[in-house]
Symmetry: C2
Subunit: 722 residues, 2 copies
């Protein structure tokens, strides 16, 4: 890619970003759009514009984001979001500190050398050399003493990273502890999840068995248990009932608005069959379903008890301690973990046995590994054909279009990146599905697992894949003949500089276009207005139309980590990328701060358990960077390349020490944290009721289901024999 | 080695064993020898010969051993000993089941083939071929379909091993659970060990700090704490005081016996200086030391508190649960483990911090690895020069002695083995010292660690070392040029059969001579009688002279495991070794049963925590066996050699599953086990006092130190501010 097209791509992106930001400033001030730009504040019961001046200043949102405190984030969006900001701040800190030293030293050193001029005749591929390369390590001659500065840069970046990571881990650990210490009553802190229960002795139900087991061990602190049940049928009935209720509400809304009794057909999709009065029809269906539901609920509680349960304790310490203790001499029976929040419990996974979970896990790891490997082939293929020259050969009729210079330049700069982005958009759902199939009991854990898989996928395919794709075709035969690690490192090292410009563009595209779309929320806005105008009849339907959704960590985290990995790996080879990294994470921080405070509503709270996951992958990226630099300095035949090795070992030790010191506090709840006093003595009945699945609580239950759940809960008692 | 010298060695060993057994029968019936042959029964307050008939039958002890039940062993010698018998039974079972199938099938197959005759001309080393080799796999021709039987044998042995190991792990797990469920009060079940305490806030002592910390977390079940102190000085004073007391008792005994007041000199070793009256002199010294001790005890409790403590709880469940729970958000602070028994607590290690322990551990692993590697050199050297031919060259003047045929034969059969045994005797103390230096808090754990190191040492040096020593010198250059794993396996496989006879002799020597000496206790008997006659004056001194000591697992377990490894590896190559393995473990079971019931007094009880350690190493031996067979079948160019690979993978999976299912129950105390009711409500004061180190309890304390400890304990309270 030439320097010109790089600048064009950058400029275009920037213009798009500015346009989107102006759009945002304009649109977000219209009160009709408030549910799109301030849903989180609305749901929290706050005024959308409270404390903010309705200014036309397009930078006002930035000021608001910058002045908000971490406590604001915790209050409005939870610990997990705050932890994500720690992640962004940490990376920003690392890049800023690195850039401060590296940019003023390495760029002049690279610019004043002349390796590329000398070896220009040697390069075989035309056009890959550009002015940008003059500013990279590629322009340093072999064995040059200037390489000392680049080696020093590797050290500087590593040390800065250790420092920031250590500080961040400590900080997040405190954040988590504070949240867990909070005087507010949270149901999950009084419960543990028990799985792999053995079959009860004859004449006992699963529920009686678990009660007697835990009552013997905890005569004083055991409160009660909620045994998991096979809910698929009752869920189905409940789902139908909810559907009917919505349709009835809709019919009533139409009646109120138009004064005509709405009708519908009873057949497939309301298109065929008998014409009936909707209100009467749905009322009848609802009554029928309610009767069904009640019968099925009783059947479920009596006959479909599973070998898992949520067990409740009277104090937080008792629950925290119970969740960490081995209960049964046979470790694969009566396994315990901390209970996830009620809203993120994956009931359908609870009944899966320990060894089955392990087997599923390995099977899925294997499957994902295959996916990672075989996705590489189409990606390499895509990045090979999406050069314009190749496209022209394959699709000759686009030639006239391509020959218009402007279009050509734009296509040339965006095409490979867009292909890549589209390609990657197909994957996350598959990975989340696979992660859930592992038998993980909570949503947050499944998302962490999916995020991990996605990260490995991105690094392997996007980073290594794209980097090697160019050179791979030539050397694939050599490698196949004699696959050695040093050769692969060498290959990686020599092909890195060639791809630097690609990644500069990739990062720039991601932040300007990505964050522009994120901030302006153009697409949700359009969908919302369309739905509101043509589809929504009831209040509930309107709310559903603007409900903002989650922060989607499953793709956000690996996406950011990929940029981090790319920036790390090029930070010394092409230090210019640090500027892009700083913009990416700085702008990301600003935009996400805005979105977290005003837009997104987290769908769960895991008290920062994402952090060890992120920490480890930042370290892995650093490790990759060090290995690559070892290879690249070696390729430059620098005599003191071996000095990188102590750094690589330090990274491993650093990771080990961090794990030893901090990880336990994330895996379990420390007792000193759980023993803090509560504001008031907890209402244990309410805690218990929070875990009863919707389909098993009374059908009368609406938003505030206390009464319903209460009667339900009495049924529950009567049946389960408490 | 020729067949003749093999038989001579076997015969001699057997004769020695018979003589020793007859000696044992004769000596053990003399009542003066009872403290040597029945010390455990005497210490338990039982009649030495109770329930045994004083017969002259030399096999009577065998009958007694065979009729004793596992419960007898648990009662008289504890769970650890019972677990060791499970180990012996399991291995015996494996070998017996293997032998039943393998001996009748493989021996005829080997004997009727003729590889050795055909290739005899090819072998370069004279005399290594013997009649024994005809019965081994060496006699099978390459690519012979008979190799199917040998492959089948590998499968059979592996399956039998899995079966017995699984059964044994289950059984031991039950044994452990039963012991932990016992209704008897054991101090260690009410306590946890807390280490890595942070510095207390200003104005608090370490003791106050820990009390307030645990009282907050466990307001109801926390009883009190015993903070560790820096005891080196007070221990020294206490040691001196004990010495003076012994000398005073001795002087008084002499006075009573001879009616002469004994005197001694005050200088070095009682050889120089002023002549004084011993009784007066030691009484004075005792009074002085008592005063010193009291001053120092107060100083220790007030000023020398360390960052570790034993914390006591009011119930077993509370302690078991506390020992498994994370207490502090920072994992390297307030670390907890189950408390070891008072008698095996290594106080001097408690103050070592977590990361210091980790560093020490890795440093010591590194050091031991070096030791293992460099011990190989002298061993190879020894086994190379201890052939008679070489000895004659080096020490020419032994030639006339050697030429006497009888001596020559005996020397030829024993010399290399004796050299090896002597060599190995030097190591265990070093390894135990190193293991303690890791910072391990309990004796039993240190012994497990030492045992593990010793096992690796034995396998690497004795087994692999001796096996390769013969062939190594020729091929060491080839390997140095091109060190590849397959080459090493190949080398191992081809050199294995040559060493088969050596190991047959080694195992035979170990069981006949080793168990003969063990059973007859000739050496302790002689030492006891000499001491009693010439040295002991007081009752206490006599008791010290016959006190039997421990079962010394640190060397016993790796010793047995080495024989197991050897037997496994040769079980298919030279199936004859199975007979020797069966005799080794059968005879070992009998002799040890006798010794456990009557002689040894365990110095600690770890409730079977040795088992996972043993289990893992049996599996490791099986794994080595499978790898060796893979190599050896490959060396026989057997086409279906790859069929061993599924077996190797199965071993890994089996180990993983066992660890998942059982190991947790050994690492921690399961709560369902700890929650069983006690016979009586525990005397918590007594439990607390059991942990006060001798040097800190009152000097007046004798055998039953309740009163002394009581007053001491009041001092303790007064000073530590409870």
């Amino acid at each position: 890619m030439e320097f010109g097209s790089f600048l064009v791509s950058l400029g275009t992106s920037f213009v798009v970003f500015v346009v989107l930001m102006l759009l945002f400033t304009w649109l977000s001030r219209k009160s009709g759009n408030a549910p799109i730009y301030y849903p989180n504040r609305i749901l929290k019961g706050l005024e959308p514009w409270e404390g903010t001046s309705l200014t036309r200043n397009p930078f006002a949102w930035m000021r608001e984001a910058l002045t908000s405190s971490e406590q604001d984030v915790v209050n409005l969006s939870g610990v997990d979001t705050a932890v994500h900001f720690v992640f962004l701040t940490t990376v920003l800190g690392i890049f800023a500190c690195s850039g401060l030293l590296l940019l003023p030293t390495l760029l002049p050193l690279a610019a004043t050398d002349h390796n590329l001029k000398n070896t220009k005749t040697e390069t075989t591929s035309k056009g890959t050399f550009s002015q940008l390369d003059n500013l990279s390590m590629a322009n340093i001659t072999k064995k040059s003493p200037r390489l000392w500065a680049f080696l020093g840069a590797v050290y500087w970046i590593s040390l800065v990273t250790y420092f920031f990571l250590w500080k961040a881990y400590k900080h997040v650990s405190t954040l988590r502890a504070q949240a867990l210490m909070s005087a507010a009553v949270k149901p999950e802190q009084f419960a543990i999840l028990v799985r792999d229960m053995p079959s009860p002795p004859d004449g006992q139900t699963q529920k009686e068995f678990i009660d007697s087991y835990f009552r013997e061990i905890y005569p004083e602190t055991f409160y009660r248990s909620l045994v998991a049940t096979e809910n698929s049928k009752v869920n189905k009935i409940w789902g139908k009932l909810e559907g009917y209720k919505k349709k009835l509400a809709r019919a009533e809304a139409i009646l109120a608005a138009t004064n005509n009794r709405p009708t519908n057909k009873t057949g497939l999709c309301g298109l065929v069959g008998k014409q009936v009065d909707s209100i009467e029809y749905y009322t009848e269906l609802i009554n029928e379903s309610v009767a069904n539901l009640e019968t099925e609920q009783k059947a479920v509680l009596a006959e479909k008890q599973q070998t898992a349960a949520v067990v409740f304790f009277t104090t937080r310490v008792a629950a925290a301690s119970a969740a960490q203790s081995l209960h049964c001499q046979m470790v694969d029976k009566w396994t315990v973990t901390e209970a996830p929040e009620p809203r993120q419990l994956l009931w359908q996974n609870l009944n899966i046995k320990l060894f089955s979970r392990i087997i599923r896990q390995y099977f899925i790891y294997f499957f994902v590994a295959l996916t990672i490997l075989f996705y590489m082939i189409p990606i390499a293929f895509v990045s090979a054909i999406t050069t314009l020259e190749n496209l022209q050969k394959i699709i000759p009729f686009i030639k006239p279009v391509v020959e218009i210079t402007a279009i050509r330049t734009v296509l040339e700069s965006f095409l490979p990146q867009i292909a890549l982005l589209v390609f990657l958009a197909m994957l996350p759902k598959l990975l989340l599905f696979l992660s859930k199939a592992e038998g993980i009991p909570s949503q947050s854990h499944a998302i962490r697992a999916a995020s991990g898989k996605y990260f490995y996928f991105s690094v392997f395919n996007v980073f290594i894949g794209v980097t090697l794709a160019g050179t791979l075709f030539n050397t694939v035969k050599d490698i196949a003949k004699n696959p050695k690690l040093d050769m692969i490192i060498n290959l990686l090292a020599t092909s890195l500089p060639k791809s630097a410009t690609f990644f500069l563009t990739y990062v720039a595209l991601k932040f300007f276009i990505g964050y522009g779309l994120e901030l302006s929320r153009i697409i949700p806005l359009i969908i919302f207005h369309l739905k509101k105008k043509y589809l929504c009849k009831t209040e509930a339907e309107v709310k559903e139309a603007w409900y903002p959704g989650d922060l989607t960590y499953a793709t956000r985290v690996p996406g950011d980590l990929l940029v981090l990995t790319i920036t790390f790996c090029y930070s010394v080879i092409a230090p210019l990328i640090l500027i892009f990294g700083i913009i990416y994470f700085g702008l990301g921080w600003l935009v996400l701060r805005n979105q977290a405070l005003k837009v997104y509503v987290p769908s769960y709270e895991s008290y920062g358990r994402m952090w060890p996951h992120i920490h480890q992958r930042i370290l892995a990226a650093l490790f990759l960077f060090q290995v690559v630099m070892f290879g690249y300095l070696g390729a430059k035949t620098f005599f003191y390349t071996a000095l990188v090795i102590p750094l690589i070992i330090t990274s491993l030790i650093f990771g080990y020490v961090c794990r030893q010191k901090f990880y336990g506090g994330f895996k379990h709840t420390a007792l000193e944290v759980a023993c803090r006093e509560l504001k008031q003595s907890p209402d244990l009945e309410e805690i218990f009721r929070a875990y009863i699945p919707h389909s098993l609580s009374s059908h009368k239950a609406e938003e505030h289901e206390f009464k319903g759940a209460m009667s339900r809960y009495q049924d529950f008692n009567a049946i389960a024999g408490v």
